[in-house]
C-alpha cells in the first residue's frame, strides 16, 4: 500500500515515522517548503544566529533513506480524490492508496490596506524567514501587528539585531485572551523592559506603500499616527492552509473536518495538525489546536488508523509551553483567561515580578484543575498525574516540590508559595516532600 503525506512538518513527519514503525507500506512525504523536516518552532533561532538552518533538522539526511521514507520536494496543485491522484506543480502525478493531509497554517490577513505589499509578511514558513532575513539589512524599524506567540518571537528576533520594534495589539495587555491577568501583566512589563515599543489597545489602519510596492510605514487606526518602518510583521494568528482544496468535495469548515479517527469525509484520506478541525472535540478542547504537541499526537494516531489499527484521537490533558523573551511559561490542565464560575485560583508571584505559580482548582471540591508557571519549570509527568487523579489542592501544595524542575542550585519557591497560601487562607499547610528525583519517580510509579 502506498501512503502519501502532504506536508513535512511535525504532524506529517510523525505520521510517516509511526507508519514506518507499524508497517512496511510505501511512504512518500511531499513538501514544497524544504527538502528535510525542520523544527518550525526554531525558525527564530536561525535568524537570531543561535543555530544554523541545518541544526533545526531533528534527523540527519540518512535517516529518511534508512527508514524508506521518500521525500519529494514539490508543490501539490490539485488533489483528485476520486482517482486518488495528486497533480504536482512540476507536472508529475503521484497516486496514493491512503492520503494524509498535514498542510499546516498560513498567517492571517484581515483585509488591511497594503497587506500584500513587499516587506509585509507573517512568520510561519522557511520562506517567511528568508524574506525577513533578506529585508533586515539596514532596517530602521519593524512594526509587528498582533501579539501572541509569534508576535513576541518576531520582536525578539529583531531586537537580537538591535532593530527597533513596535508591536500593535488590540488588547489592553499582552495575550490576555489566553493568559490570566497577572501573567499577562508580567509579560507586558517584560516586553517594555526589553525596550520594545508595545502599543496596547490599537488596531492597524493601513500599511503605506513607498511608491515602489514596498511598505514604508503603518498608520494606527484609532489615532491616525504614522509609524515609519521598513518591515511589517503580520502575526495576528494563523488559520488552516486549505484554500487549494476548496471545491474538491473535501469537507472543509475553517479547517478540514475530521472525526475522532482523524478521517475526512473522503475514504482513505486523513487530516492532521494545524489544518484539521475536529468535529467533536473533547470537552474543554478547541476544534483546531495549532500547536506542536497536538500535531505530534495526531501524526501518531493517524499512522495507527492508516495501518488498520483503529485508535481514537485523545489528546489527553492539555499542556503547552512557550518562552516570552527571557520568561519561560508552562501550562498544564485548564488555566483560562476568562474562567468559568466553578474555577478558583491561587496565584503567587515573586517580588522581582518575573516568576509566578498559579494553581487553578474547583471551587466545589477543591480538586486541582490546572497549573500556570512563569519563570519556573514544572515536571510534566507530576502535574499530569495530579490532574488525572483529581488531586486535592492542598495535597498538591504540600507536595509541590515534587513538581519543581528548575536546575540544581536554583532557589526553590515552594515555601514562599505555601506561606502565601497559608496567609491568605488561614490554612496551616507544610511542605511534606523534597525535590528529590527518587521521591518523584516513586510518586510517579505509585
Amino acid at each position: 500500500m502506498k501512503i502519501v503525506i502532504i506536508g513535512n512538518g511535525i504532524s506529517g513527519i510523525s505520521a510517516a515515522r509511526w507508519t514506518r514503525k507499524l508497517s512496511d507500506h510505501e511512504i512518500t512525504v511531499i513538501s514544497s517548503e524544504t527538502e528535510y523536516f525542520f523544527s518550525r518552532t526554531a525558525l527564530m533561532y536561525i535568524y537570531m544566529g543561535h543555530m544554523r538552518k541545518v541544526d533545526t533538522q531533528p534527523y540527519e539526511p540518512y535517516f529518511w533513506k534508512k527508514n524508506r521514507i521518500d521525500l519529494v520536494k514539490d508543490h501539490v496543485d490539485h488533489v483528485d480524490f476520486d482517482n486518488k491522484s495528486l497533480t504536482m506543480k512540476s507536472g508529475d502525478n503521484i497516486s496514493y492508496d491512503k492520503l494524509i493531509l498535514a498542510l499546516g497554517s498560513k498567517s492571517n490577513k484581515f483585509g488591511w490596506p497594503g497587506q500584500d505589499l513587499k516587506c509585509v509578511a507573517g512568520l510561519y514558513s522557511m520562506q517567511d524567514l528568508d524574506n525577513m532575513e533578506a529585508h533586515s539589512a539596514g532596517l530602521k524599524r519593524a512594526v509587528i501587528v498582533g501579539g501572541g506567540l509569534i508576535g513576541i518571537e518576531m520582536a525578539e528576533m529583531f531586537r537580537s539585531r538591535d532593530i527597533p520594534v513596535t508591536i500593535l495589539i488590540r488588547e489592553e495587555s499582552y495575550w490576555n485572551n489566553i493568559l490570566p491577568k497577572e501573567e499577562s501583566a508580567m509579560i507586558t512589563r517584560h516586553i517594555y523592559d526589553h525596550h520594545i515599543d508595545l502599543r496596547i489597545g490599537v488596531n492597524l489602519g493601513e500599511i503605506v506603500d513607498d511608491g515602489n510596492g514596498k511598505a514604508c510605514a503603518v498608520i494606527i487606526k484609532e489615532t491616525g499616527e504614522r509609524i515609519e518602518c521598513g518591515y511589517v510583521g503580520l502575526t495576528a494568528g494563523v488559520s488552516p492552509n486549505v484554500a487549494f482544496l476548496k471545491d474538491t468535495g473535501l469537507k472543509i469548515e475553517r479547517g478540514i473536518s475530521v472525526n475522532n479517527h482523524l478521517e475526512t469525509n473522503m475514504p482513505g484520506v486523513y487530516a492532521i495538525g494545524d489544518c484539521a478541525q475536529i468535529s467533536e472535540p473533547m470537552p474543554g478542547r478547541r476544534p483546531i489546536e495549532a500547536i506542536w504537541y497536538t500535531g505530534r499526537m495526531m501524526g501518531e494516531v493517524a499512522a495507527y488508523n492508516v495501518c488498520g489499527r483503529e485508535v481514537a484521537y485523545d489528546p489527553g490533558i492539555w499542556f503547552n509551553s512557550a518562552k516570552f523573551l527571557d520568561i519561560e511559561y508552562q501550562v498544564y490542565g485548564d488555566v483560562l483567561a476568562k474562567p468559568p464560575e466553578h474555577h478558583a485560583t491561587f496565584y503567587w508571584e515573586h517580588p522581582d515580578g518575573t516568576k509566578a505559580i498559579r494553581l487553578v482548582y474547583d471551587v466545589n471540591d477543591k480538586t486541582i484543575l490546572g497549573f500556570n508557571v512563569m519563570g519556573i519549570r514544572f515536571r510534566h509527568e507530576v502535574c499530569e498525574k495530579w490532574l488525572k487523579e483529581k488531586t486535592h489542592l492542598e495535597k498538591v501544595i504540600e507536595d509541590l516540590s515534587l513538581a519543581n524542575f528548575d536546575p540544581e542550585f536554583y532557589k526553590q519557591h515552594e515555601q514562599d508559595f505555601v506561606d502565601a497560601y497559608n496567609k491568605q487562607t488561614g490554612a496551616n499547610l507544610k511542605l511534606k516532600r523534597k525535590r528529590k528525583l527518587d521521591q518523584v519517580l516513586k510518586f510517579l510509579k505509585a
Binding site: I10, K21, A42, R161, R377, H380, E384, E408, F409, L437
Partner: protein, 596 residues
C-alpha cells in the same frame, strides 16, 4: 557593543600584538658571562672554546632565531668533540656522564643561555612588558566583559552564527586543516623519535583502521555525510584564532627556546611565588589561570540568571587558580614536590613514571600522602563520586582542561560535530587512547619494578616518549585547544582524554546521573544539541521523552539552560535509570512498542 567594549577589544588586540612582538624584541650577545649559569666546568669551557673558534663569542645577534641557529651548532660541535676527546683521552677526575654532554642538558643550556644573554627592552623592563601583555590583555578583556553585566539576564547566544570568530568552518576546510595537522604531527613525531618510524607508523595505521571501521559501518547502514557538512559558512577570525593557538602550542611543547622572552616577562611573578626563574610551563600555567579567570567572569555575565552555571564556573576558577596553579608553586617554594592535587591518572599520565614515584617517595610524609592520594583518586574517588554525581564532578567542576573549555572555550561550544559519524570516531578514539594509556603505564610500572625495559618487542621508554608526544602534547594541546575555534571547545575531552574515557565508562554503566526529559514538552528545536560541547544529539533523546545517559556527557548543564521550554534537568537518582533511559517514552498510544 558600546564604546567601552570597543576600547576593551582594542586593548586586548594591542596586548596580543605586543605579546607576539615580544618574541623578537631582544638582542643576544654570547659572552662567557652569559654562560656562567652552566655549572659543569667541562661543558662550559668546551662551549666557550667552540664559540671562540667559530667567532660567535661576543658577537651580537639582533634576534633569537639567528642566535639559536648558531648556538645549537656550537652545542652540537661541542658534544661531538667532548665525545671524541673522552674516547681518545678519558679524564681521570670526571665521570663519563659529567664529561659528555647529553641531549637533554643541551636543551636546558640553550634556554638558560638565551635568558642570560638576552638584552633589550624585554630583559631590561620585564615588569613593563608584563603590564603591556598580561596587564593590558586583562584590562581589555574586563572592559569588554564587565558591561555585559548590565544586560537583562537571560540566554545570550545572539548572533554567534553571524560572527566570523564563532561560526566555524565548512566541512571541507575543517577536515583539511585537521588532516594537515595530523600529518604534520606524524612527520614531526618521526623526527621527535630520532628517526624511528615504528610509532608514527603504528599511529597512522590505527588512524586508518578507525576510519575504515567508521566508514564500513556507515556503508552498511547507508548513512550519509554528517549534518554539519552542508552549510557554507566560514569564520575567518576563528580560523586565525585557531592558527595562533596551534602555533602557540607547537612553540610551547617542542620549541621552547624560541619563547624565552615570554618566560622572561613572567619571571617577576615566578620569583614571587616559587622563587625560581619561570619555565615555559610556568608561563603556560599563568596564562591558563589568567584566561580561566577572565573568561570565567565572562561566563558569569553570560549566565547571570543561572546559578548552576555560576557555581560551576566559580568552581573551575577556584581549582585552576588555587589547586592547579598556586599550590604547586608554593609547594616548590617549601621544597616539596610540585604536585597538582586534582590531576588524576590517566590524564596525568606521568603520575606512575619512575621519576615522579621516586620523587614522591623521597619527599617524606607529604610525598607519600601525595602518592596515596593520587592512587586513591583513581581507584576510589573516580568510581564513587561518579556513581553519585556523574563525571561532571570532575570534567566540568574540577578539571583544568575542562575549566579552560568552559571559560575560554564557551564561545565555541556550538562547533562540535553532532553527526553519528563523529560519535563513532569518538568512541573508537577515546577508548583507544585509554587502552594506550593503560598499556603505556603498565609497561612503565613493569620497568619500575623489574628494571627491565622490554616486554615482547616493545620498549617502555619508547612507548612513554611516544605517548607524551602524541597524546600528552599533540592531542591534548595542539589539537585539543588549537582546534577550539574549528571543532569546538571539547575536542580533547571528547575524543582524546583517557580520564574522560574512564569516567565515562563509570557514568554509562554505574551512575545515578542522568538528564531527565520533561515529559512531552520537547519541541525538537535543537538548541540543546547545537550548544552541546560534547557533540551529543540531546534532541534525539529529548524529543522521544527519553532520559539521557551518555558516557560523554560532562554535565555542563548548558542544554538545560538554553532549552526554551524547560525540558531538560541534570539529576542524580538511583531509581529507574535504565528504564527511563531506554524506553521510547514520549508516546501517545501506550501499547505501541509491542504493536508490531
Amino acid at each position: 557593543m558600546n564604546n567601552i567594549q570597543k576600547i576593551g577589544i582594542g586593548l586586548f588586540l594591542l596586548s596580543l600584538i605586543i605579546f607576539t612582538a615580544v618574541l623578537g624584541l631582544n638582542s643576544y650577545t654570547l659572552s662567557s658571562d652569559g654562560l656562567s649559569h652552566i655549572t659543569n666546568d667541562v661543558h662550559r669551557n668546551a662551549i666557550i672554546e667552540e664559540a671562540e673558534k667559530t667567532g660567535a663569542l661576543d658577537k651580537k645577534y639582533s634576534n633569537n632565531i639567528a642566535f639559536i641557529g648558531d648556538f645549537k651548532s656550537i652545542l652540537n660541535n661541542t658534544q661531538a668533540s667532548l665525545e671524541s676527546s673522552y674516547k681518545s683521552n678519558p679524564p681521570a677526575d670526571v665521570s663519563e656522564w659529567d664529561y659528555k654532554m647529553g641531549d637533554w642538558v643541551m636543551k636546558d643550556y640553550t634556554i638558560n643561555t638565551l635568558k642570560a644573554t638576552g638584552d633589550g627592552p624585554v630583559s631590561n623592563n620585564p615588569l613593563l612588558f608584563l603590564f603591556l601583555t598580561f596587564g593590558l590583555g586583562i584590562i581589555g578583556g574586563l572592559l569588554f566583559i564587565l558591561p555585559k553585566f548590565r544586560a537583562l539576564p537571560g540566554i545570550k547566544n545572539d548572533n554567534i552564527y553571524h560572527s566570523a570568530l564563532t561560526r566555524g568552518l565548512t566541512f571541507t576546510p575543517r577536515v583539511g586543516i585537521l588532516m594537515a595537522t595530523i600529518i604534520g604531527v606524524l612527520i614531526y613525531g618521526f623526527k621527535y623519535m630520532n628517526g624511528a618510524i615504528f610509532w608514527p607508523l603504528v599511529t597512522a595505521i590505527v588512524a586508518g583502521l578507525i576510519t575504515l571501521l567508521v566508514f564500513l559501518h556507515e556503508k552498511k547502514k547507508e548513512t550519509g555525510p554528517p549534518r554539519s557538512a552542508s552549510v557554507p559558512i566560514t569564520g575567518w577570525i576563528g580560523f586565525f584564532a585557531g592558527f595562533y593557538l596551534i602555533g602557540f602550542y607547537i612553540l610551547l611543547y617542542w620549541m621552547p627556546e624560541y619563547i624565552t622572552n615570554w618566560t622572561t616577562i613572567v619571571d617577576p611573578v615566578s620569583h614571587m611565588l616559587s622563587g625560581n626563574d619561570a619555565s615555559q610551563w610556568f608561563l603556560y600555567g599563568l596564562m591558563y589561570t589568567v584566561i580561566v579567570i577572565v573568561m570565567g567572569i565572562r561566563m558569569m555575565s553570560k549566565y547571570r540568571h543561572n546559578k548552576y552555571q555560576r557555581v560551576r564556573t566559580a568552581s573551575v576558577m577556584f581549582f585552576q587558580t588555587c589547586i592547579a596553579f598556586l599550590l604547586p608553586e608554593i609547594l616548590t617554594r617549601l621544597n616539596y614536590p610540585y604536585y597538582d592535587f586534582k590531576n588524576i591518572w590517566p590524564l596525568n599520565y606521568t603520575f606512575f613514571f619512575d621519576w615522579n614515584i621516586n620523587n614522591l617517595i623521597e619527599s617524606g610524609g607529604l610525598g607519600i600522602f601525595m602518592l596515596v592520594w593520587g592512587i586513591a583518586l583513581i581507584v576510589l574517588g573516580v568510581p564513587i563520586i561518579t556513581y553519585f554525581y556523574g563525571k561532571r564532578w570532575y570534567c566540568s567542576w574540577v578539571c583544568g582542561c575542562g575549566g579552560l573549555a568552559e571559560t575560554m572555550g564557551d564561545p565555541f561550544r556550538q562547533l562540535s560535530d553532532k553527526s553519528i559519524r563523529a560519535w563513532k570516531y569518538e568512541r573508537y578514539i577515546i577508548h583507544g587512547v585509554l587502552v594506550f594509556a593503560v598499556i603505556m603505564t603498565a609497561m612503565v610500572l613493569y620497568h619500575f619494578f623489574t628494571g627491565s625495559t622490554r616486554v615482547l618487542f616493545l620498549d617502555s621508554n619508547n612507548i612513554r616518549q611516544w605517548y607524551g608526544f602524541l597524546i600528552g602534547s599533540a592531542f591534548a594541546g595542539v589539537i585539543g585547544t588549537g582546534f577550539y575555534p574549528l571543532m569546538g571547545n571539547r575536542t580533547w575531552c571528547r575524543f582524546g582524554c583517557p580520564l574522560a574515557g574512564y569516567l565515562g565508562l563509570v557514568q554509562k554503566f554505574k551512575s545515578r546521573f542522568r538528564i531527565t526529559t520533561n515529559g512531552g514538552q520537547c519541541i525538537s528545536c535543537g538548541n540543546c544539541s547545537t550548544h552541546c560541547e560534547m557533540g551529543i544529539d540531546v534532541r534525539h533523546y529529548a524529543q522521544r521523552g527519553q532520559d539521557i545517559v551518555r558516557s560523554s556527557c560532562v554535565g555542563c548543564g548548558v542544554c538545560a539552560a538554553v532549552c526554551p521550554r524547560g525540558v531538560l534537568r541534570l539529576e542524580n537518582g538511583s531509581t529507574d535509570i535504565g528504564e527511563r533511559a531506554e524506553e521510547v517514552r514520549n508516546v501517545h498510544i501506550e501499547d505501541l512498542i509491542n504493536a508490531k
